[in-house]
């Protein structure tokens, strides 16, 4: 049986597979390890060559795409048979459901939340991180006035933060069942204006991820006190900043636009899918069941820092006693998946490009959103045509 895993998961997939082989004599798992940067291309090429592996890891935003290609096995019934659907956080399962059918089983969750320097915030009068947008702006202003450099760092070439802010304001990003962009909606505009304000008021520098020499070291130096990043960061902080005491920094769920703390964040991560054309489906199902069981979720967390998508795993002391992980636990209750359509990755890359233009002052907020909306409508043209013609 073939199994493809990517990036950090790919590095430890062999280890997981060995245990599976011991439990299932007679099944041999051939593991292929592929870097994330090549994963999407490799999967599509394999699909085009009718050569998909039996089981493969799939970034959650790709599920809709591969469903449109009719490349994925319908996992709805088989997953029910595991008897663990109640254990998964609803938002993580929802990310893998396309048109009412489960197309993949969540393997781990990836979401964004606040990372902050507890010591620096305490110095300006915030022993606890604020819970609302306004509170954060106030805290960032005080940090800026304390004269330690930038207050926050938000890479301007990423789409996640503007998208999270817009989703919190209640913007749908797309409308009419994903037929048109909805970026000119007043809620979306308001969120975008708020996002731009962070840069206009010099609370965050207009720099992309590549422009900052080393994100982790700069955080350690206190060059900025707040950022929004994901579950891979705590491990990196511990590894790269041995001099930074654990109590000097913390994690917190996203602040919210209204009183509904924690605020919404994105449900990202990766899932395990079975190729519709696989000829070894029995073994494939066994592997998926094995890898997504609570023990293996925990093992994955220990090996890579990937967050478990199920509640049982989260009750393990390894996670309950880790304060930094607990912020993620709270965030898990307030997640939402980005629009589940095959075009999403392309749309997300346009969001990042237009937001960057507005932040760098090359376009006004309104002009940037108008450009974005026009580009997105163009990207969705084929989808509209397909929906109209029922194909």
């Amino acid at each position: 049986m073939e199994f493809w895993a990517f990036g950090g998961e790919g590095q430890i997939a062999r280890e997981l597979a060995v245990e599976f082989e011991q439990e299932n004599p007679g099944v041999r798992v051939r593991v292929q390890q592929i870097p994330w940067s090549a994963a999407h291309e490799k999967l599509l090429t394999a699909y085009a060559g009718d050569n998909l592996p039996d089981v493969f890891q799939l970034g959650n935003t790709w599920i809709a795409e591969f469903t449109a290609l009719r490349a994925l096995e319908d996992m709805t019934a088989g997953f029910e048979a595991f008897g663990r659907s109640g254990d998964f956080f609803p938002a993580t399962l929802d990310a893998a459901v396309i048109d009412g059918k489960l197309r993949a089983v969540p393997w781990y969750v990836d979401t964004r939340l606040l990372f902050y320097r507890r010591d620096l915030l305490a110095q300006v009068g915030y022993p606890e991180p604020p819970r609302s947008w306004d509170g954060w702006v106030e805290a960032l202003r005080r940090l800026r006035e304390s004269g330690r450099g930038a207050a926050a760092f938000l890479p301007v070439n990423e789409w996640q933060v503007p998208a999270i802010l817009a989703l919190q304001r209640g913007a749908g990003l797309l409308k009419d069942d994903g037929r048109y962009g909805d970026f000119l909606h007043p809620d979306c505009k308001a969120a975008f204006e708020f996002y731009l304000r962070l840069f206009r008021e010099n609370l965050a520098p207009a720099a992309s991820a590549g422009q900052i020499a080393n994100f982790y070291l700069e955080f350690g130096r206190g060059a900025f006190a707040v950022s929004v990043t994901g579950p891979w960061s705590p491990g990196e902080f511990r590894r790269r900043l041995p001099g930074l005491p654990p109590r000097a920094w913390g994690t917190a769920p996203m602040p919210s636009f209204d009183d509904s703390y924690p605020g919404l964040s994105l449900a990202g991560g990766a899932s395990l899918a079975i190729a519709a054309g696989s000829r070894r489906k029995d073994a494939a199902w066994k592997l998926v069941e094995f890898l997504t069981a609570p023990q293996q979720q925990l093992r994955l967390y220990r090996l890579t820092g990937d967050l478990p998508p199920g509640k049982t795993a989260w009750n393990d002391p390894a996670l309950t006693e880790d304060g930094k992980a607990q912020a993620f636990r709270r965030q898990m209750e307030r997640l939402t998946a980005p629009p589940k359509i095959p075009e999403w990755e392309r749309i997300a890359s346009r969001i990042a490009a237009c937001a960057e233009k507005a932040v760098r002052g090359e376009q006004t907020a309104t002009a940037a959103l108008e450009t974005l909306n026009r580009e997105v409508d163009e990207i969705l043209e084929k989808r509209r045509w397909l929906l109209e013609h029922g194909r």
């Binding site: 291309e41 992309s208 590549g210 422009q211 095959p342 490009a353 084929k382 194909r391």
Partner: protein, 287 residues
């Protein structure tokens, strides 16, 4: 029945290969460029639409395409002549009478051409590293502020050009050396007797007699530079802020990242037309 020229059978195998692996794919790509072949069509051919010149019209209105064209021209206009000059200078040095160990120097200077680009890119990324890189150390030693070579939109393309020149000048150098060696020694002797100094010999003998070599090197360099792809692909992925996005890289992204093969084919044919036009123009000018 007229008998077939036996020569036909000798070229037939080569022709067959060209037909199957070149003519057919190009024809297929041309056909593809008039359709909206994308992910949906990959999953089900019934979702393919014939859209005439739609892709080409879309391309003209695509801001990314114009950015890519601008970047590619930047690379061609600055990087091309620079590359030719460096290779000519290297050829003159390597070919000079007083240079010892000519063969060794030729091989050493040719080495970057045969080195894998990915390995080269890894090393150059270290060289360009803003804080710990060798280049910025040198600049600091000279009292110049360090530069974020690959992170600053204004400096990323010069950085790519520098690396590309280093990587590729060896090939043109060898061609120039061959050209230099075909110039009869007697001409230099005659010039020396007439009292021409080294500068005059270079200007009135070497350069004019190198003209055919210049044409060849110029055309090959131009074509190669228009197809800029691997350097930004491994070094910057087109960033920062699209400042190193080339036409070929845009084509790759559209084709294999987003799987818009119809649109990518249209880009390919536009790039082909640009290169063809530029080559014809250049050949005319040099004559």
């Amino acid at each position: 029945m007229k008998r077939c020229n036996p020569a036909f059978w000798f070229v037939a195998p080569a022709l067959a290969l060209i037909l199957v692996f070149f003519v057919l794919p190009v024809a297929a790509a041309l056909a593809l460029s008039f359709t909206d072949f994308d992910l949906y069509a990959l999953g089900d051919p019934a979702r393919l639409r014939f859209i005439g010149f739609g892709n080409y019209r879309r391309l003209l209105a695509d801001a990314e395409f114009w950015t890519a064209l601008k970047n590619t021209l930047y690379f061609v206009i600055v990087g091309g002549p620079l590359s030719v000059l460096v290779s000519l200078a290297a050829a003159l040095l390597v070919n000079h009478r007083l240079t010892p160990l000519k063969g060794l120097f030729r091989s050493l200077l040719f080495l970057p051409v045969v080195t894998t680009l990915v390995a080269v890119a890894v090393v150059w990324r270290y060289v360009y590293q803003p804080r710990y890189g060798m280049l910025n150390h040198l600049l600091e030693a000279l009292g110049i502020d360090s530069i974020d070579w690959l992170g600053d939109p204004d400096w990323a393309m010069p950085a790519i050009i520098l690396m590309a020149v280093w990587k590729n000048f060896g090939f043109n150098m060898i061609v120039f050396v061959a050209g230099l060696q075909s110039i009869p020694e007697s001409l230099y002797e005659a010039a020396a007797i007439d009292g021409a100094g080294p500068r005059q010999q270079l200007l009135y003998i070497t350069l004019p007699l190198l003209a055919p070599t210049f044409l060849f090197v110029g055309v090959v360099t131009l074509i190669g530079h228009f197809q800029l792809f691997a350097e930004p692909y491994v070094m910057t992925q087109g960033g920062p802020a699209n400042s190193t996005l080339s036409i070929a890289l845009l084509m790759y992204q559209q084709g294999f990242r987003w799987w818009n093969l119809g649109y990518a084919s249209a880009i390919a044919f536009v790039l082909f037309s640009i290169v063809l036009a530029a080559t014809v123009l250049q050949a005319r000018l040099e004559k």
